[in-house]
């Protein structure tokens, strides 16, 4: 079930360079949320510029509180960052198809940049549902500044780090980290920049790891109405008009093999 809910902002704080975390009291959305799903957020102020809602992953959803982790990249996220505690914010969600979590010896979460956002909610839920199976979180970034809210992840599971500049954790890409740290059967849940997910998916194919990736595209509606958020399906579709899938409805999480990364 999807809701249009006016949540109340409980906290809106900077957690890194241009990176913010917003906590919102939103019982309806939280009640229905699954890891990997997202919400369309109205950046408000009653103006028509920016016009459209902004898609943001559900970073965490616990006891009526929805948490968003967002980076300021333009007008909309800038307007979000000046919203104050106590203000209302309009949410549409939860939206999309989240991660498909099945029993597996080793749940391995791989995130890069702000792709880390949905992994916290995912990790918490895996730990809850499969307390006995192994759970690892691998995070990468250009530099230590990009490794956000690490403590939150560390509270849930062992965290392995990599930075392009070596300022924290392993010096290199998160894919190298994945190759190094993980062996044996595992399931990969990945999100982040497309090049990174490509690398992760390629490695997973080699090692025969099932791999799910979470995609981002421009979105107008977030709910399957505008058909604006297409990515191309891998292989040949039986019906011409099934050449594309829609990230907001068929995704944002896909089997890596399902789509062209």
């Amino acid at each position: 079930m999807q809701y249009l809910e006016n949540g109340q902002i409980l906290e809106n704080v900077a957690v890194g360079p241009d990176s913010w975390r917003m906590e919102i009291h939103a019982p309806k959305v939280v009640g229905a949320a699954q890891p990997g799903q997202f919400v369309m957020v109205s950046v408000g102020h009653e103006t028509t510029d920016p016009l459209l809602r902004r898609p943001l992953s559900i970073h965490q959803a616990q006891s009526d509180v929805l948490t968003l982790l967002y980076r300021i990249v333009g007008k909309g996220t800038k307007l979000m960052s000046i919203m104050k505690k106590g203000e209302e914010i309009s949410l549409l969600g939860p939206l999309g198809k989240g991660f498909d979590v099945q029993p597996t010896p080793h749940h391995c979460l791989v995130g890069g940049g702000l792709g880390v956002a949905p992994l916290l909610f995912l990790a918490s839920q895996i730990k809850q549902r499969f307390p006995d199976s192994k759970l690892s979180i691998l995070l990468g970034g250009r530099s230590r500044d990009e490794l956000l809210v690490l403590e939150d992840y560390q509270q849930v599971a062992p965290v392995f780090l990599a930075t392009d500049d070596g300022s924290q954790g392993m010096h290199g890409l998160v894919t190298d980290l994945l190759a190094k740290e993980i062996d044996g059967p595992a399931t990969i849940y990945s999100c982040g920049p497309t090049p990174m997910m490509k690398g992760v998916a390629a490695l997973a194919r080699q090692r025969n790891w099932p791999c799910q990736v979470s995609l981002e595209t421009m979105m107008a509606c977030g709910m399957g109405a505008c058909l604006g958020c297409t990515v191309q399906r891998a292989g040949i579709a039986e019906n011409e008009e099934q050449k594309y899938v829609h990230v907001c409805k068929d995704g944002p999480v896909f089997e890596a093999g399902e789509i062209w990364l």
């Binding site: 509606c221 109405a225 505008c226 958020c229 019906n239 594309y244």
Partner: protein, 305 residues
């Protein structure tokens, strides 16, 4: 005080003037969590062509100042599967349903109208003539009065239902097209479709849309849409359905005062998926508070000078 919100398009009576615009409301079902579809005047489903269309490669949408550009490329399942798979679901929605059709040729339009005529659960047809006429080197049907009239004529001939011709705003004089389709037998006209626009990503040096150009919609185009509705309402006798940037109740009133018998809500559905239902309630409240007995009193009531 009881107010009459109903309006008529030809013989077809709508409970109120609030409709949704084609391509912005899916097949309706997506909005059932937010709107009681039976409370709307009507919903217009996304454009249907003879054969399935995959649509354009991404990116397909980009935001602009108070608007958005789209180049969806008329993706749809085709008439066959629309009738077989979508219509059964649509009939269950309990809404007045308008089916929007599009084609590459007169024959396309004719066949689509014919195939749909004996399909149950359709209140009216809306004909998108902003499509390139392949035989005429890709000039849009909607930019030439005679081509537009021919489309209206063949569809009206094949269809026993009200035929709404949806006009393109990318023309020098939209009243010429409106008059032409009126004479050709259109029950009503709806306007405007999107203005043609473009955006460039200066970082990559490429157009922001894979299709290079796209359709501009949203509040940005409202003044142009309102002006065209005003001009067309003065030029034809058939009902005019106003479309273009309508977001608030004030917008609805403006379009009706300018001469619109009904309005369609498009891009605003993306911003607030509940907006169409809210406007139905808002309009009734407005009529009561302003001691209007009927929504029809608003139509064309603007006073010049």
């Amino acid at each position: 005080m009881a107010v009459d919100t109903s309006v008529k398009i030809g013989e077809w009576q709508l409970a109120n003037p609030i409709m949704t615009a084609s391509g912005t409301f899916g097949y309706g079902e997506e909005f059932t969590p937010f709107v009681d579809l039976s409370s709307l005047g009507a919903i217009v489903v996304k454009g249907i062509s003879l054969n399935p269309r995959p649509g354009n490669p991404p990116p397909r949408v980009v935001e602009t100042a108070s608007g958005m550009l789209n180049a969806i490329g008329l993706q749809n399942v085709g008439i066959e599967r629309f009738i077989a798979e979508k219509m059964p679901m649509i009939r269950k929605l309990g809404a007045q349903v308008v089916v929007n059709i599009l084609g590459d040729s007169l024959q396309d339009y004719q066949e689509l109208a014919a195939r749909l005529d004996d399909v149950e659960g359709i209140a009216a047809l809306e004909v998108n003539i902003s499509c390139p006429n392949v035989k005429k080197g890709g000039v849009a049907f909607g930019t030439d009065p005679s081509m537009a009239a021919k489309v209206a004529e063949v569809v009206a001939k094949e269809s026993s239902r009200p035929v709404i011709i949806k006009l393109s705003p990318n023309v020098t004089d939209i009243t010429l097209i409106a008059r032409a389709v009126e004479e050709a037998g259109a029950t009503a006209v709806s306007l405007i479709n999107t203005l043609i626009g473009m955006a460039i990503d200066i970082k990559t040096g490429r157009p922001k849309l894979a299709n290079i150009i796209g359709g501009l919609s949203g509040p940005a185009i409202k003044p142009v849409a309102l002006r065209m509705v005003y001009q067309v309402a003065a030029a034809v006798k058939i009902p005019v359905i106003g479309v273009g940037g309508i977001t608030t109740l004030e917008d609805v009133i403006e379009f009706m005062m300018a001469g619109a018998t009904a309005v369609q809500i498009g891009t605003a559905n993306f911003v607030n998926p509940a907006v169409s239902g809210e406007l139905v309630t808002g309009l009734r409240k407005y009529l009561q508070e302003n001691n209007r007995k009927a929504a029809t009193e608003l139509i064309g009531s603007v006073q010049e000078g």
